[in-house]
């Protein structure tokens, strides 16, 4: 139980002109449980990194003080534990128990005390396996619980959580929240958590601090009071405030068939069971088909096969008017038939400017110059990318990059668009923009297939839902 204080704190990342945060004055009392809210760019992660002592002198320029129990945060590293978003880049060791022990070895805990503390921490997060379990064999939710055990084993007096469930599927996120709940109930530590999805974490905190752009203080107080008073404003800023209704965009009647999957099956080389087995589906113009299911159910494999990006072990995906199955089409022709938008937009950027990115597909397809120019101008306007036309795609914000990857996939006018987790990790404002954008594309007659964990996204847009389980269609329902 230690107090935390920012005094006139400001931070500028090396190589940036603007400060990430400026003039932050905050005090968190010993044992308080604080939720830190704010839109992208409000500097939440910078504040957590400052508390964890990770802002080193060579990484930027600091003003003011960050004090933990009265001492500079950089000197209090041993009393602070931080859990990041991405479980994959937090685990160090090949064996689960070794990974928890890693933090204790760094603290110079004697060997005979290490293993009891490892077992205690693994039990505290409800880790379902023994200490020899290979870390690469764990699911995302299990890895994140293991990373939490690694934090708890060091017995920190201040625990920092940086969007701990943002990279997980709903089941994994639920398990991590359960683990947090029980672990925090037994701990006296001061807690500061950054999370967009407020509803799920509200019972863990007793105070909410809302930040505006650049770390300015918007609101501070008991959770219920802050959300009641500033809920609408925070929602507009991108926070998922519970109780603020979400938009829905119901579909009109679907048109002609646009994409078929026949008996699609896929077996990974060396795997003992198929990732996808005997899946049939039909996608029509002007509708959105949501493909749902837990991790490992074959959703992403289905998107790859439906997009002609992998060769099915059996079966085929076809579009009307094209005699060959999609996986046999040359890439430049495929792009005019089916567009695919991947979860990580950056994987799909192949040029150095937004304008070239939009012109790329049509150029590959051999369109005449004036038609390409007209198409690029239209897309820039429609997807509100015109002011960014000459920017490098890799410098865009998360929401902009997502819009560009959708626009790029649409550029060569395919009749079908496949989306893999389009709303993953987005704040509420970007989410709303994506729902509107997707609905507009659908209502122009494009056939859409969206692989998603996001129940709200499916509810807002989908006419039908295909539920996969262990590589097979478990259910097909009309919404």
């Amino acid at each position: 139980m230690i107090p935390v204080e920012f005094r006139g704190f400001a931070w500028r990342h090396a190589g940036r002109r603007a400060q990430a945060v400026a003039d932050v004055d905050l005090r968190v009392e010993p044992g308080e449980r604080v939720l830190l809210l704010g839109p992208s760019g409000s500097g939440k992660s910078t504040l957590l990194a400052a508390l964890a002592g990770l802002l080193t002198e060579d990484s930027g320029e600091q003003d003011g003080d960050v004090l933990i129990a009265g001492l500079p945060a950089a000197e209090q590293r041993d009393r602070v534990g931080i859990l990041f978003q991405d479980p994959e880049t937090q685990l160090v060791m090949a064996r689960s128990g070794d990974d928890v022990a890693f933090g204790l070895e760094n603290q110079a805990v004697p060997r005979d005390q290490i293993w009891p503390r490892v077992h205690e921490a693994l039990a505290a997060v409800g880790f379902p396996y023994g200490p020899d379990r290979a870390t690469h064999a764990l699911s995302g939710g299990e890895q994140q619980r293991l990373a939490l055990a690694g934090v708890l084993a060091r017995r920190p007096d201040l625990i920092l959580l940086d969007e701990p469930t943002a990279n997980l599927d709903p089941e994994g996120a639920q398990d991590v929240r359960e683990a947090l709940r029980s672990a925090l109930a037994e701990s006296q530590a001061t807690l500061i958590v950054v999370e967009h999805r407020v509803a799920e974490i509200l019972d863990l905190v007793d105070r909410v601090i809302a930040l505006g752009p650049g770390g300015t203080l918007l609101a501070d107080g008991p959770a219920a009071a802050v959300l009641a008073e500033h809920g609408d404003h925070l929602a507009a800023q991108g926070v998922w405030v519970p109780g603020v209704p979400l938009p829905t965009r119901p579909a009109r009647a679907a048109g002609d068939p646009a994409l078929r999957g026949d008996a699609l099956a896929y077996v990974h080389p060396g795997a003992d069971r198929p990732a996808l087995d005997d899946v049939f589906f039909e996608l029509r113009q002007g509708e959105l088909l949501a493909v749902t299911g837990s991790n490992g159910s074959g959703k992403s494999t289905l998107a790859l096969l439906a997009g002609g990006l992998a060769k099915p072990t059996r079966g085929a995906a076809t579009v009307p008017g094209e005699p060959r199955p999609l996986h046999k089409l040359p890439a430049r022709r495929l792009a005019t038939r089916v567009g695919s938008v991947f979860q990580d937009p950056e994987h799909q950027f192949v040029t150095a400017s937004v304008r070239d990115e939009l012109a790329f597909g049509p150029r590959q397809a051999g369109w005449p110059k004036d038609r390409i120019e007209a198409r690029v101008a239209e897309l820039l306007e429609r997807l509100r990318l015109a002011p960014l036309a000459d920017a490098n795609p890799h410098t865009l914000s998360g929401g902009e990059a997502r819009r560009l990857s959708v626009a790029g996939a649409l550029a060569a006018a395919p009749g079908v668009l496949l989306l893999d987790e389009p709303t993953f990790g987005q704040d509420r404002r970007t989410w709303g923009e994506l729902v509107d954008l997707t609905a507009d594309i659908r209502d122009e007659g494009t056939a859409l297939l969206a692989v998603t964990h996001d129940r709200d996204f499916a509810a807002a847009l989908a006419g039908r839902e295909l539920v996969l389980e262990r590589g097979r269609v478990a259910q097909e329902r009309r919404r």
Binding site: A49, A52, G53, L54, R77, D78, V80, G81, I82, F84, D86, E88, T89, Q90, L91, V92, M93, A94, G97, D98, A101, F102, G103, L104, E105, N106, Q107, A108, R111, I114, V118, A134, T135, H136, A147, G150, R154, G270, L304, G307, G308, L309, A310, P330, A331, L334, A335, V338, G339, S340, F342, D344, H347, Q348, V350, F360, G361, Q364, A409, A412
Partner: protein, 266 residues
């Protein structure tokens, strides 16, 4: 695509349980002996000893053969190249076909070189296939005083390797979706390969940065001397293995000297 370096043996097999540093030393002694000897008998005896040790490693024969096939293929190539292109063909002529001449002397010399490659490769594969990388890192840090920043950094990087395979497929798929594909044009293929490699590298560096931050947040960069959750030290059995390796090397040299063929590579 899968890239892992996990051991492929029964973890309870006698050689699998030997201290990694002892194994490393034994494999080094045998490889050096094979490389120093220039005759054909010494490496042959060493190879026989290594093969005799296989049942104690707990490696499945099929797995071992899979790992060794390219190395043995390389060794065979070494034999042929050295026999055909030997500086002088001595002894009885075996093959004389136009410009192609192979004599017994050259074939024997070539075989000796090929056998040496075989011994070094087999010793290395046996050592690594029976050693858990974590144990090796522990042993290097604790016994040879290798810096933890190096050994644990390498371990952490090793853990991220399989992700690269998956990411490669992601990037390739994402680019095909954009209309970008090598096809049959070799120039385009090479350029696409280079740009995919670059994208992979950018992602890997980003991940490495995040991992380094997570490691430091758990005190990896603190100045305190680390303790070790698992102790690695030389037990009597490990000394026995090391002594055994030395004995085998001595015996191989002794036998080939007694047989009158031992020479030193120069």
């Amino acid at each position: 695509m899968s890239l892992t370096l996990a051991p492929v043996c029964d973890a309870q097999a006698p050689i699998a349980r030997v201290n990694p540093v002892a194994k490393l030393a034994a494999a080094t002694v045998i490889s050096i002996t094979a490389l120093v000897a220039a005759d054909w008998l010494t490496p042959l005896l060493l190879l026989a000893a290594l093969i005799a040790a296989v049942p104690f490693t707990g490696i499945r024969i099929a797995e071992l053969a899979r790992r060794l096939r390219w190395l043995w293929f390389a060794a065979a190539a070494v034999v042929i190249v050295n026999a055909v292109f030997a500086a002088e063909q001595t002894g009885r002529i075996l093959i004389d076909f136009g410009p192609l001449t192979i004599s017994t002397g050259a074939l024997l010399d070539g075989t000796a070189i090929g056998l040496r490659v075989c011994v070094a490769a087999t010793a290395g594969v046996l050592g690594f296939a029976t050693t858990d990388p974590t144990d090796l890192a522990d042993a290097l840090t604790q016994q040879l005083r290798a810096p933890a920043r190096f050994t644990l950094g390498a371990l952490a990087a090793l853990r991220l390797l399989p992700l690269l395979g998956a990411e490669w497929q992601q990037i390739t798929g994402a680019r095909r979706a954009r209309g970008l594909e090598g096809g049959w044009n070799p120039v385009r293929r090479v350029r696409l390969f280079a740009s995919t490699m670059f994208a992979l590298l950018v992602g890997a560096i980003r991940r490495a940065g995040r991992l380094a931050a997570a490691m430091d947040a758990r005190g990896f960069d603190s100045e305190i001397p680390r303790t070790h959750a698992r102790e690695q030290r030389m037990r009597p059995a490990d000394w026995v293995v090391l002594a055994g390796a030395l004995l085998v090397c001595g015996a191989a040299i002794g036998v080939s000297a007694a047989y009158g063929v031992f020479t030193v590579f120069n």
